[in-house]
Amino acid sequence: MSAFEREFMDLSKALEITTATDPGMVRSHNEDSIAVDATSGYVILADGMGGYNAGEVASGIATAMLGTSLKQILEDAEPGKIERESGETLAVKILREQIAGANASIYQAAKSQPQYAGMGTTLVIGLFYDKHLSVAHLGDSRLYRLRQDEFKQITRDHSLLQEQIDSGMITQEMARFSLNRNLVTRALGIDPEVEPEIHTYEVEVGDVYLLCSDGLSDMVEDDEIQLTLASLQANLPLASQQLVQLANDNGGRDNISVILVRILRHLPAGADWIGRLSSWFRLARV
């Protein structure tokens, strides 16, 4: 691919991304791991679990492997292209395949190294391309979206508590008193096979996306998160620090990780030449 072509796939002008991660007030280790790349348009957050440092290893493998492979694949791919046989976008296929690969690696490492036995990690990935966002997740790390005044949790946790809420056993309000937190029903690296939940959404200019580990969402009410994002969206680094600070002020019982993404302008289309041309005109107008 020529440098000329690559320029049009560079999303860094369309995405503003900031991150913050903190061990919190109680834990000595930070088992969360994040990887972002505005040029390729991906954001990855993983919250590891397992004894000793195995959690860090699992989340570290996940973000490193997925980051490297996504970067490489996205250099030549058109994530918005519809796959003929499955009818889904290439982005979804890429996410599914790469997550399966990372899952196998963590699973194998856990099997071959006794000190890593049973390790695993939650995962949430956002892939931005061509006016769209594809989100894959496993476990209780979340993606939220602030669109104008509407703040919405986009992912639904894979957790026992969420199942109990869904079945009507416990109300959303009472859920905060549950002792069954932190029991996730899906995770990366625990089983030989994994089934990530993947959805695709349209993005709008001005949207702010938040990816976070449960260290934030368990410690800070959604209302407070919304207030923070809405008030401080002009300064995303400050907003991410403020979110971490809120979680720590509330006790900081777990590692806290935050990724914020703002859509600055329409995401350029992929590598097909019509898309490039139209995005060139769009860019030229700006």
Binding site: G168, M174, F177, L179, N182, V184, T185
Partner: protein
């Protein structure tokens, strides 16, 4: 593992471990906890336990099941809750896994979503934290499907297809949004227990109302549900009719909404919740966050110059922005240690006592003068 301590007249009779998914309480010998007393129904109540959470369910008992003095149909048990059946008391103790596991209990662990999962593959038993979380053998862990099934069972034991109960609890409206009384079936539950008929035979609300109206006033005290929601005061209005001879309210709000209202700190501005129950207050698990962590003393700012001079603004929220978006904005954050001001956007930085801020948060002291976009304002602590 959680347990119950059975006592009567402050005399401890026995301790019962909640080691089954379903523990039944009643007068008949078939119950897991048999209480041979005429005030206790044959099948009085059941406790469904899912990992660390236990749910108490009244099984349509004649005299009702009380938790901390309130009649309940279904209740999410919290540590130190006292369940009363007639003269008997059952204290619920959920051992804090935090102490047992040295703080590891909060670590995230995976439970297997699929039934028929083989333990040999190894998820839970390898995780130190998981063992403390899960005292039972690994293969009996209720997976997601079982949990859902349990939930379904829990619902079916009620055998009362009343609309409000049949709805998943998640859909239940908070007290403030409750429908006006006219839409509810308020009076049906006020009948003395002896007269209660199976649901299928229940009279239409209008008829029942007539029936109850004919009774002496003392017996037909209207339950709180008959009031429109707007009139209800949380804590007082939501208290169920406590007379044991009355059937508990079928329209759950009276019983269930109360803890909800108390448990929701976000609601504090809107509805001033009543004093939290001791059971809630002593919970060590993730106490409801926002309420207690903000700065104890309330701060405010008063505008000193410009068109709004004299205006005062209480800093009640965790953060308050000042200034004009796109031009100059600063934020005042409310934290346990006090108030802080931070620059958010704009080429010029706000001044505090004549000195420009840097990018860092700056603590605010009583009577500090803030200057922002040419407007001066004073920060001060309000008298308690």
């Amino acid at each position: 593992m959680a347990k119950l301590i059975l006592s009567m007249d402050n005399l401890v009779l026995k301790e019962i471990a909640l080691n089954k998914e379903r523990t039944t309480i009643g007068r008949k010998p078939s119950n897991d906890i048999q209480i041979d007393n005429l005030a206790v129904s044959g099948e009085h109540a059941a406790i469904v336990t899912i990992l660390n959470d236990s749910f108490l369910e009244d099984l349509g008992s004649t005299n009702g099941t009380f938790v901390n003095g309130n009649m309940v149909k279904k209740h999410f048990l919290q540590n130190n809750d006292v369940i009363e059946l007639g003269k008997y008391k059952l204290k619920y103790i959920s051992e804090q896994p935090s102490q047992a596991a040295g703080g590891n209990y909060e670590k995230t662990v995976v439970i297997h979503p699929k039934p028929g999962f083989k333990t040999g593959e190894g998820i839970l038993h390898n995780l130190q934290a998981a063992e403390q979380l899960q005292p039972r053998p690994v293969d009996t862990i209720p997976d997601a499907a079982t949990a859902a099934k349990l939930a379904a069972e829990a619902k079916s034991v009620e055998q009362r297809p009343i609309a409000a109960e049949a709805k998943p609890a998640a859909e239940m409206r908070p007290a403030t949004e409750m429908r006006p009384a006219s839409e509810m079936k308020p009076v049906a539950e006020v009948k003395p227990a002896a007269e209660v008929k199976p649901v299928a035979e229940m009279k239409p609300a209008a008829e029942v109302k007539q029936a109850t109206e004919m009774k002496p006033a003392a017996e037909t005290k209207p339950t709180v549900e008959t009031k429109p929601a707007a009139e209800m005061k949380p804590g007082t209005g939501l208290k169920p009719a406590a007379e044991p001879r009355f059937k508990p309210s079928e329209l759950k709000p009276a019983v269930e909404v109360k803890p909800v209202a108390e448990a929701k700190p976000a609601a504090e501005d809107k509805l001033k919740p009543s004093e939290p129950k001791p059971a809630m207050a002593t919970m060590q698990q993730r106490p409801s966050v926002t309420a207690e962590v903000k700065s104890a003393r309330l701060g405010a700012i008063q505008i000193l110059t410009g068109p709004s001079a004299g205006k005062e603004l209480d800093l009640t929220k965790s953060l308050t922005t000042l200034g004009k978006p796109g031009v100059q904005v600063a934020v005042i954050t409310r934290r346990p240690q006090g108030y802080f001001i931070t620059h958010v956007e704009g080429a010029t930085f706000p001044l505090v006592n004549g000195k420009a801020l840097d990018a860092q948060a700056h603590p605010l002291n009583d009577h500090d003068i803030i200057e922002l976009g040419g407007i001066k304002m004073e920060f001060f602590y309000k008298a308690a």
